[in-house]
């Protein structure tokens, strides 16, 4: 009877899944969607050039990646977590509780964050941090008092900017990019306009409160949080050509026929200006390796050292070609992986 056959195979699957005990032969990576494209490129090259199977790279955000990473040691846990921010103290503690103690931190390079708009849209060609702060802050200081941001057009902010309604597409609060945006653009702008000083000295706010006020983004719809990825930001700009969006450098470089980029404080973004530190808005990207998996998962160490190899992550390599700014201290990272230095022993 058909039904009995089906039921039998059903139970078979259930039973097999319960007793599965298969060894894993490929490296498993999870984590940040910002690091993902770079990890994909390296994984693909690794699979082409080594006898090991191509590593599996999951995306799901730094948080989910590190959480899986910290789940424990063993074949059914991931070997590497990609992250667009450094691991937090709390997370290291949570890791240790689950037995993940020896973690190797690898900085693969820097990710530039650029401000771009529709190529046929208004001439947003030069911005400063102060302009972004004045345009997007929830409350700004006017005549020594904190008032709800009254600016409605970019020209209100600075006469040199186009007289267009302020419409900014910034990363949502789930993205690590948002943190960089808040700290390196809004807070920096807040300081540059003197608003931070004014809040602390004239309005008597504590430093923490003043900084929080600096980094609070207006919620009246002029600033739009994008919880999706840059393709969504691009789609919004295409449907709303007077808007300005925040993108990763590599995304912009892949879409230069649709977007034009603005300078920040006079510096135009490129892997060179980011490497020298002239272009101010960038952040390091990382991945974290479980030392305990070295020698257990075939190809893990080879993958890690291949990733930071000069031919891959160095200047002119495929990663910098794709928009990653090479880390000037790549050599130190290479020897760190070679010697398997963990975070505790390394620093």
């Amino acid at each position: 009877m058909k039904l009995i056959k089906l039921s039998a195979s059903a139970l078979a699957i259930a039973a097999i899944s319960a007793t599965a005990a298969s060894a894993r032969d490929q490296v498993q990576v999870a984590g940040s969607s910002t690091v993902l494209p770079y990890a994909n490129i390296v994984a693909e090259l690794f699979g082409e050039n080594f006898d090991f199977p191509t590593p599996v790279v999951e995306s799901g955000g730094s948080s989910a990646g590190l959480k899986k990473f910290c789940e424990g040691v063993g074949e059914n846990t991931v070997d590497i977590a990609n992250s667009s921010r450094s691991i937090r103290e709390k997370e290291i503690k949570a890791c240790a509780e689950n037995g993940v103690t020896d973690i190797i931190e690898v900085r693969i390079g820097y990710d530039g964050i650029v401000f771009a708009s529709d190529i046929n849209g208004p001439a947003y060609t030069a911005f400063t941090e102060a302009q972004w702060y004045t345009a997007l802050a929830q409350e700004i200081v006017v005549d020594g008092a904190l008032v709800t941001n009254p600016n409605t057009t970019w020209a209100d902010v600075d006469a040199s900017l186009p007289a267009e309604e302020i419409q900014a597409f910034i990363p949502g609060t789930k993205h690590g990019t948002r943190e960089v945006f808040e700290e390196k653009v809004l807070l920096a702008g807040c300081e540059a306009t003197g608003a931070l000083d004014a809040m602390m000295n004239e309005l008597g706010m504590s430093e923490d409160d003043a900084e929080t006020a600096c980094m609070s983004v207006r919620t009246d719809g002029r600033s739009v949080d994008i919880d999706g990825d840059y393709t969504e930001t691009l789609a919004r700009i295409e449907s709303n050509p007077t808007g300005v969006g925040v993108f990763g450098l590599s995304f912009y470089e892949n879409n230069t026929s649709k977007l034009k980029v603005a300078t920040m404080s006079g510096v135009s973004p490129s892997t060179e200006t980011i490497a020298t530190g002239e272009y101010p808005v960038s952040r390091p990207l990382f991945f974290y390796i479980k030392k305990a998996h070295f020698g257990v998962i075939p190809g893990l160490k080879e993958y890690a050292s291949f990733f930071v190899n000069d031919a891959v992550a160095g200047p002119g390599g495929p990663l910098s070609e794709y928009g990653l700014t090479p880390d000037p201290e790549l050599g130190a990272t290479q020897s760190m992986i070679e010697n398997e230095e963990t975070m505790a022993s390394g620093s």
Partner: protein, 453 residues
Amino acid sequence: MTDASASPVSPAAAPSAPSSLYEQSSRTKKRNASEKRFRAYGLTAIAVGLMSLVVLLISILGNGLPSFKQTYIVMDVELRADVLDKNGNRDPADIAKVMTFGYTPLIKQAAQAMVQEMGSDIEGLTDKMIGDMISKEAAGQLRNYVMKNPDMIGTTQQFKFLANGRIDGYFKGRVTMESAALDGNVTPEQLMAADEMAAAGYMTTAINPGFLTAPDASDQRPEAAGLGVAILGSVYMMLVVLVLALPIGVAASIYLEEFAPKNWVTDVIEVNISNLAAVPSIVFGILGLAIFINFAHLPQSAPVVGGLVLTLMTLPTIIISTRASLKSVPPSIKDAALGVGASKMQTVFHHVLPLAMPGILTGAIIGLAQALGETAPLLLIGMVAFVREYPGMPPEGLFDPSTALPVQVYNWTQRSDPAFFERASGAIIVLLVMLVLMNLVAIILRRRFERRW
């Protein structure tokens, strides 16, 4: 009556009484008009629904059809022994030391030689531009060939490489001379060279079987990305869902419909099932992560985990439709079976179930089709991944990492190269074709075995 209509004495005298059968009274007119309006509302509603469908399909087809074709470049590459095998002993271990980075210059030189041979004189066309017209996948392809045929080192062979995604986009109308002038990744000179190559027959656009069979490719090679792993993964997951959800669902429905006493426990189960049918799918992802991966220690990114999660998700759908088909078997059949001395169990398994089978299968297929298109729960159990190795044969293959079709769509829409958008739409077409096929099977089953009692 005919008299009355023949001699209209005073039409205003009797407005309410119908003076003629040939002439409708105002009330009848009103009622008939309202009837027509009502019917029109219904037609409009259907038209709105179908219009939405047509608009959606057109937009998908328009975006996705080009992904089934791809631009190729045919060229002769000299496999130089001084680059590929410096020791000259054809030792595979030595040859393996030359990475794809070593092969890239060979391909670039071959491309430059080809352009020279064509006698092209495009101003501003640099050697680097020529080299960049070929997909980065070519180096890997060449290395694989040399690793398999080490004896060919030193000879010149003809290869068919993929063209770079932007060049491909030019032939598909996605990239134009104007956009290329602004684009950092392609130049108008390259496009002119591409035109010349196409005229000389080196560059052709052909059907791309790789789109259905090749694995995913990284963000730098949209032209090489395919759906092979995703299709396999989806099929495996559907296998798991079919084999688990159908028997369990049928068993549960038989119990609830035929055996369960009517008490609060049955009520709780029923509320439960209809609630599960409406629980946001993302919640099943949280469940799958907690139970199958963190508790039962099943591997990440495996079709078996995806299948189990989707099984739990489709069970309610299958149970609901199965119960409806069991209910539609007339009581007289049961009574007859019980009357000749069959036990309740025998009645159900020998008579009710076979008669309800077509309906059950239809419901199961519709449930499967729903599961096939589901994205959100797979997001949390590691199926949104970059996987290039094909999973093995079942049952072991069920534990190998893989992705699934809807997840691949989601993944590709996130990539920065616009060429992936076209491929995502192409993947949607594949997904829709699978869905339509499954629904067709369901419709045929329904037509063939449907019984009216």
